[in-house]
Symmetry: C2
Subunit: 209 residues, 2 copies
């Protein structure tokens, strides 16, 4: 990924935030036929390994070899930034449009798990995370479902783990603009309804100061 | 991409909508070193060719060969769907969590343009689209900027076109649920703040009826 130094994201907390806010990862792999991409929620295990699962019917675990290098993409907030957003534009008109965004790329080697214990662990990890955030005390648990049903469902998925070898993250959030133009961009993005991007820009700038 | 028939998106208008709502494409290519992905706004030309531009400093146009196959990913709305969203869950508990999302994958061959005319056309196409939507009559135009500045900026980018050979789109929007569970999911997603996903689900279901 093209990554000018000013947009390189090196803060582990910010990288974790980007993933937590956009956990639907995209796993891309080169296969003999073509590039193949699949989308699924992913979570980092305690040791940083990415954990997920796919349908048994998903050819990914047949087309992608055990130990193969894959690329995982997490796409965070994004939005169009007009030159009109910058107060300084009216003075010298030396601005062009751009696009702000946050993304995380993780390269790693993938392994697949077919045993029920690993699959149960992967489902449990993902479920706990999302249920707790959404439903708190009323979180759905695997134990809520009948045993025969859960066993049947677990039989229809394959677990996988991606041992991350390299993480590259980009926060392109107008941090290369002076305070006045930056504030103008945040204000106008908010007005345009791009509040998630505006909030992220403001939070990151304030956090860095 | 794993694509059960019920989630295959074949409506050209819906596919165009997904891209229009999430125009920040991700261009992925296999290089001799590794998989490389870059993010940039993309637009379809009249003949369906994807048009974009990157920084001259972006190695993509050096690492990726003229005419090479690339994969373009447009990631639309997405969100977690809890079993608790379904009214029928309380009756039989035979539900598991899932993730709803819309994505478009386009496979195609890439070519790069270094001449100013092509680059000006690419920038013009993208700018018009986003400025009109955002600023209407007050849209920024390339002509607003001084000539020497625009010439300098155009010298710092490379245009590219992707001739699309295959489009695969997925709308995983609970359309496999009965009306009561579907309505429950829309309602609970709205309550949880996932309004973009809830709106998309409702609009697509209503449009299909």
């Amino acid at each position: 990924m093209y990554l000018p130094e000013q947009f390189r994201e090196i803060d582990p907390a910010e990288i974790a935030d980007i993933i937590a806010a956009a956990p639907l990862g995209c796993v891309v792999a080169q296969t003999s036929a073509a590039l193949v991409a699949n989308h699924m929620p992913l979570l980092a295990d305690k040791d940083g390994t990415l954990v997920g699962h796919i349908a048994l019917a998903n050819d990914m675990h047949r087309l992608v070899a055990e130990g193969q290098d894959v690329l995982v993409i997490f796409q965070g907030v994004d939005g169009y930034v007009s030159p009109n957003f910058y107060p300084s534009k009216a003075e010298h008109h030396r601005h062009v449009p751009t696009w702000n965004y946050q993304v995380v790329h993780m390269h790693g080697t993938i392994s697949f798990q077919h045993d029920e214990r690993s699959k149960r662990a992967a489902v449990g990890l993902l479920t706990r995370q999302h249920e707790r955030r959404l439903n708190g005390d009323k979180a759905w648990r695997m134990a809520d479902a009948p045993d025969d049903y859960m066993t049947d469902m677990l039989g229809k998925i394959v677990g996988f783990r991606i041992a991350v070898t390299r993480t590259i993250a980009k926060s392109k959030l107008s941090q290369n603009r002076d305070q006045r133009d930056f504030d103008g961009a945040v204000e106008r993005l908010e007005k345009a309804g791009d509040t998630a991007l505006a909030d992220r820009m403001a939070a990151r700038r304030n956090g860095a100061e």
